[in-house]
Symmetry: C2
Subunit: 257 residues, 2 copies
């Protein structure tokens, strides 16, 4: 396996599963750091701010710095601050997303009336009123930026709706699709990760457990990719897909060699 200057890791299914660390994860990360490799972690999570996320990870005993964590909330805020800092934003999303947008001084509107941009994320307090505001914005051609388009994610009570519930509702009634998707497998979150690393894509490896999300995200931006089998994807799944990773690893600990 080639040595890279930087490593971008998906988290759930790579570093931990649920709230349990993957055996060997800490050692693998330490091994890379000792060899002066740069590391960032990306996540499509649209409900937690970077700090919320860091706290959760610290609770698991993982030695990760705030600057190494790039959830979709943070990546969305960075993207908007870089490209649309002057615009007014209406958000259908959770508090973690709002926190990140406020942190970079973006202007969030209470209603759709004066907004230019609709930002969507998973919203635990979704309401008919919010969907109506979103609909009116999309019908008058506002820019639609979504944290991700994830359909479902696992919870203690089974699979629950992701940001896709908001995206699907608005897409169905307005006939529009998001103009910008920040999260994997889309490029913007990967661009934020490379920026955080300060490295070129050719010098980095994307490591993840989901082909359609992580491996595809690496591919889409032109990076080498490694699939770990500690998450949702099995070797059989790999055979069925055309999106082949450059490496297949039993687990993150195979990075130690």
């Amino acid at each position: 396996m080639k040595e890279y200057k930087g490593y971008i890791f998906d988290m759930d299914g790579v570093i931990y599963t649920g709230k349990k660390l993957i055996p060997g994860a800490i050692e693998a990360l330490e091994f890379l750091k000792n060899r002066e490799k740069k590391i960032v972690f990306v996540s499509n999570n649209s409900t937690r701010s970077r700090e919320d996320y860091a706290e959760r990870i610290a609770d698991m005993g993982l030695p990760i710095k705030l600057e190494e964590i790039i959830p979709a909330t943070y990546a969305t805020a960075q993207y908007l601050a870089e490209n649309h800092s002057e615009k007014r934003i209406f958000v259908i999303g959770s508090l973690g997303l709002i926190k990140e947008l406020l942190k970079v001084d973006l202007r969030i509107e209470e209603t759709a009336e004066k907004a230019d941009i609709l930002v969507t994320g998973s919203d635990l307090n979704i309401s008919y009123q919010k969907l109506s505001y979103g609909t009116s914005l999309l019908l008058r051609d506002a820019l639609w930026v979504t944290t991700n388009t994830d359909k479902l994610y696992p919870s203690e009570s089974g699979m629950i709706p992701g940001t896709g519930a908001v995206v699907g509702a608005l897409q169905y009634v307005t006939g529009r699709t998001p103009d910008v998707i920040i999260g994997k497998p889309s490029k913007p979150i990967m661009e934020q990760a490379l920026k955080a690393l300060g490295l070129d894509k050719n010098d980095c490896l994307m490591v993840g457990d989901i082909i359609e999300s992580d491996v595809l995200a690496g591919r889409n931006i032109g990076m080498d990719t490694a699939l770990v089998l500690t998450g949702v994807t099995s070797l059989k799944d790999v055979e069925k897909t055309n999106t082949k990773p450059d490496y297949i690893l039993e687990s993150i600990k195979d990075l130690v060699s």
Copy 2:
């Protein structure tokens, strides 16, 4: 124009627009009644019970009986009572729908846990919890009955999301589509209308203002159809579509002859 024994009317855009009666509507309905024609009114409305609807119409001064009104709420309740009376139902929908389901003694569940059927309508109190229950039901292959799949409807504050917001959200995250659609252009609401008339489809005319909803509903069930131009469809629109009505009328008053 052929004489029919029964007439099925869409309401908004045919009898009234907003809260204003179409000129000549009362006279046309009286003319038909004087000639012993049978009449029912159908609506895809999924938030009002039959009684809510009758009250609204009475306020406009229209002489319509309760038994002549078939909103999608009522048609959905009838359909379920006839086909699934023993099943437990979880509802994502408004109070008007719940009222109709209770009126025919259907069993409505508070959560998804024990439910066999998901019923969806436009829900002014949509929540993440309700969408989660709906998602879990669909993922375990529950029957999905929806009042309609309407995308948008007009309101005083512009176009607002219809039942399509709920349908779109669940469809996107689960990959499923509704098993049964009650409202136009689907058949079940038309079957309820014919049942209320006590007539065969060949003896009835469907009168509406929307080609993709009203005319198509008539077509789908094999009835003759008349398009009125007092609603959303113009003569130009008719030229562009392949779903041609049997008759095109300036207004409902052209039924008087």
